[in-house]
Symmetry: C2
Subunit: 582 residues, 2 copies
């Protein structure tokens, strides 16, 4: 295929667009791949659409290879199935809702669990029908509060979503593994540098869940990885290694101290160390009790919940929320203190909470036999040497404390460091949530119904264009991997005389006959403009037909390395075809 | 490619779906190509999606061949461009409107004239940039009052829409011709029987316009064609041949007659013929004056309009509306008669209308020198021999009278007959409406701005699946043309012993290696079920591997003709590959 730049619907920009903060956004706009058409809505110009289609092709090939079958649902969906699963309300403002001319409620699909479940229920009935994996490559809609960074986080975007349907947990595990393998092959083929992190589930409910994050400074997702092992996880999914429980014997008695004006951990530690007690204290010796309130979806009433964390760490609300999902979490207000006079603000201890029936969950570091300084449930008083398992017994543990760089890696190897990434894929063992909602059963061999278990798997297809661009660019422009480049070769005619144009035409024609797609710069602009555009556009191989043609040579430049090679004009078609075929 | 029916997400239905009235809907559902997911919203199951993709590929190839460039816009669009062109309100209830979380107005794109115009304005500035043709294959949304017949008229559907941008009318004409040619090639390749009819413009405003209608009883569009020539037109676009004007000299004077109880044409004609006047009258000798009211978009006030048609014809509101576009048309009510006492209901004549400033348009048959019986603007009175051009002078002509079978063809050859079709394509010279709305100019060679002129061209891609099915089916099921079939060959293993399964596998493997795609019925159901499904699904070539295998033969059946041929098993791969390659 030959694409002539003289007629291509493409105008590159020399200036960065004002609203572009990240490199991929800046370069995809400057190089004429995308244009903003609405807040969070982008138009794909010819070269951008080709990159998108190339990615879609790789995704489809690998999905087909694991036996997933492509179907396609509408994007405009009736409300009822989403009401049945609760997502009509759970999605909140993120869901685009719409009424038709009769006033009936619709939504623009954010993901399609409901529709796929109903589709399988509609077609299949026997255990012999299963397992099945279905997918679609489709436009999705989410009314993001902050669409940003071009196609990195849009409100309308292309997603591959797939769903597996199995008779039992082993089947689900196998489908999940197949998807995991397919995702690895897809992202490898697309030339991406990525990590697979343990993840929490978001609003979808379920169990095992991993995210594929393309490593990128521009990423919105923070994750942690180990310095010494392959461990990586979303901050929400980091599991704190619990120290071993200690013996209770011989530990000092708990003592209440008058600690005036110590409402913060810092003032408390200073006071204690100034009081000349038997030992020195640090913030890590204190037990900070944070009060929140929670309610389950559909509930009206809030319930108080106490959270205990070591005093040297803050409560990370995202980790706390992930740990309490699907419950909603809110901070307590003055009215809550007023309604519960046993709560002594700044001096809350486990005692009053548990005596008054408030559930109390603690950080996993707070194990039996550990001794703490904490609130004595009395203004200006703290208790020292309050021992877990002796003086108080938590109702359970929760991952609510912040994760810090330098924390031990949960796998026991190395320490954690923070990094940023772009979520490009998510694989997720949904379990039976949706099958329960719609009573998706198969008739088993014993004629008894078997409830189906599902997996849900997504790839942000249009986002991948940005993720790849984030990882494949330099100061001059984009540097596409071969698998996604909008053309195999960018051929520049540098010179004004007919000979070079004719030479270019001839080479382009021969390459095209070999099945090599060529972006052919046949414009009558200056060589400088053409070279700058070639660097900006980022096709991996650039062929320059110019002055050298008189001597029988053309120049072949590798966009990534900048390496230039003079090639005999009669050999250039073979040479370039070889490069393209890899 | 091999598609195994043992694992394919496909369940055929023996019964017709209750809501399916037309053959394509019935068969596409029964054969498992589509499923209803919402009112006017359909899911594409694996085989249906393949047919859709095959059609898309043909469309893209022919669009690319005329130099059109593919891009893609969002479907969720901001209101402002559609307000600028008036379409935000003109579309009425057909437009899906939506508010985002901030309360901003959006719409789901019904067509994208606005966005394409703005895109070209954004990239191009010089006359050297033009002409350009751009297209997209995209999901469109229209809140149809009556979605019907499956994917024939949905509310969410796939459309190819393209737009041409030219510097002058000659350029537009050339772009229009190119599209016309591409559409002919597309519909020919898809095996469609269709007519190209002169059309009116709908809500888009502009001049030359043709529709491609697939001939089908199930079609919603009525058109007329000549018995003796290639003439075909939408009823709205039929131009009535005007008879020559006649000399006024020697015509009898107009005379008013008392005609009691003759409020209808029929009673009037009976009365006149019973009155023993000098000649007999027919309904065609009477002039029926119909009163309507109109207002232009944006206007509040209605204006009365008189329409005169020969009394033997009804006013066809669709033709009248098309003739008055973009004005809105409504019937007059009692209140209008009350407010205008000069209107004598049942006895309205041209005189009172014109004396009171009511615009009066007549059928083209009402030419100078024709004499009419019409209302005398006085209850129970008519005037006879009221002569056009002598006793009244209309303000102009209008195509408002019904078109009837047997009317003379406007091209002078033969008479008109009515037929029904499915609109599959529309090509349309938009002119400068959108360029004016957005001031799309090119800087000319003389540095003066040149207003761009546009064409708009659409193909109903998902509707084509239904249109093809309407034309290609029989009582047993679908009969796909090769170009769109979901597979090249349907191979049925008929028999239970391993030999036939192994024989089938071997043939399927060899065909696949030759690049022939095979739908392989490897299920363990009865041969009868398999044969019925093969007929229903409609792949053009069916290969049956059964008992004959022992004798070294398999059966090759042509789905369309029903012809069966025994082929030597060693020759079948060559034979079938030959059929597929055509």
């Amino acid at each position: 295929m030959i694409t002539r730049m003289s007629s291509l619907f493409l105008r590159t920009l020399r200036e960065d667009p004002a609203d572009a903060e990240v490199p991929s956004h800046r370069l995809l706009v400057r190089a004429g791949y995308v244009r903003r058409a609405a807040p969070g809505g982008y138009s794909w110009l010819p070269l951008g659409l080709r990159v998108l289609r190339n990615i879609e092709r790789v995704v489809r090939e690998e999905m087909d290879a694991i036996g997933a079958q492509e179907i396609q649902f509408p994007a405009l969906l009736p409300k009822e199935p989403y009401v049945a699963t609760g997502r009509w309300s759970e999605y909140g403002d993120t869901l685009f809702r719409i009424k038709d001319r009769k006033g009936a409620d619709y939504l623009l699909g954010p993901t399609h669990e409901e529709l796929f479940t109903l589709a399988v229920k509609g077609e299949y009935s026997s255990y012999k029908d299963y397992p099945v994996m279905l997918y679609q490559v489709q436009t999705k809609y989410r009314d993001e509060a902050r669409p940003r960074a071009g196609v990195l986080r849009g409100r309308e975007f292309v997603m591959k979503d797939s769903y597996s349907f199995d008779l039992d947990d082993e089947g689900l595990e196998a489908s999940y593994r197949k998807h995991r393998g397919a995702y690895i092959r897809i992202f490898d083929r697309l030339g991406l540098d990525y990590v697979i992190v343990a993840a929490t589930s978001g609003a979808m409910g379920g169990s095992a869940s991993e995210e594929f994050l393309a490593t990128a400074e521009a990423g919105e997702d923070t994750y942690v990885r180990s310095t010494d092992s392959g461990y990586a996880a979303n901050v929400e999914a980091v599991v704190t290694p619990a120290p071993p429980a200690r013996a209770l014997e011989g530990l000092p008695e708990a003592q209440v101290h008058h600690t005036p004006d110590t409402p913060t951990i810092e003032t408390l530690v200073d006071f204690l160390n100034g009081a000349g007690l038997v030992r020195e204290f640090t913030a890590a010796d204190t037990l900070k009790n944070v009060l929140v309130k929670t309610r389950m979806p559909g509930q009206k009433e809030w319930t108080l919940l106490g959270i205990g964390v070591p005093g040297d760490r803050e409560v990370d609300m995202k980790r706390l929320e992930a740990g309490l999902e699907p419950a909603e979490v809110a901070l307590v207000e003055e009215a809550d203190f007023a309604a519960n006079p046993f709560l002594v603000k700044g001096y809350i201890g486990p005692g009053a909470l548990q005596a008054n029936g408030v559930r109390y969950l603690v950080d996993p570091r707070i194990v039996t036999g550990t001794a703490w300084v904490t609130g004595a449930d009395k203004a200006d008083h703290h208790v020292v040497d309050l021992v877990c398992g002796r003086d108080f017994t938590p109702d359970g543990t929760i991952e609510a404390a912040e994760v810090r760089e330098g924390d031990a890696s949960p796998d026991g190897h190395g320490t954690l460091v923070a990094a940023r990434g772009i979520e490009i894929g998510h694989i997720f063992q949904l379990g039976r949530k949706y099958a329960d909602a719609f009573e998706l059963d198969a008739l088993g061999p014993d004629s008894k119904p078997v409830r189906i278990t599902m997996g849900s798997y997504g790839i942000g297809v249009s986002r991948l264009v940005a993720a790849i661009a984030e990882q494949h660019h330099d100061e001059l422009g984009l540097v596409w991997p071969r698998a996604v480049s909008p053309a195999d070769v960018h051929l520049v005619v540098a010179g004004k005389d007919d000979t070079v144009f004719e030479g270019g035409e001839r080479i382009v024609g021969e390459l095209s006959q070999r099945g090599v797609s060529v972006l052919f710069d046949d414009r009558t602009v200056s060589p400088g403009v053409k070279f700058a555009d070639a660097e900006l556009i980022g096709v991996p191989t650039i062929v320059v037909v110019g002055k050298g043609l008189a001597k029988g040579v053309v120049e072949v430049k590798d966009r990534a390395t900048g390496e230039r090679t003079e090639i005999d004009v009669d050999a250039v078609v073979d040479h370039v075809t070889g490069l393209v075929r890899g």
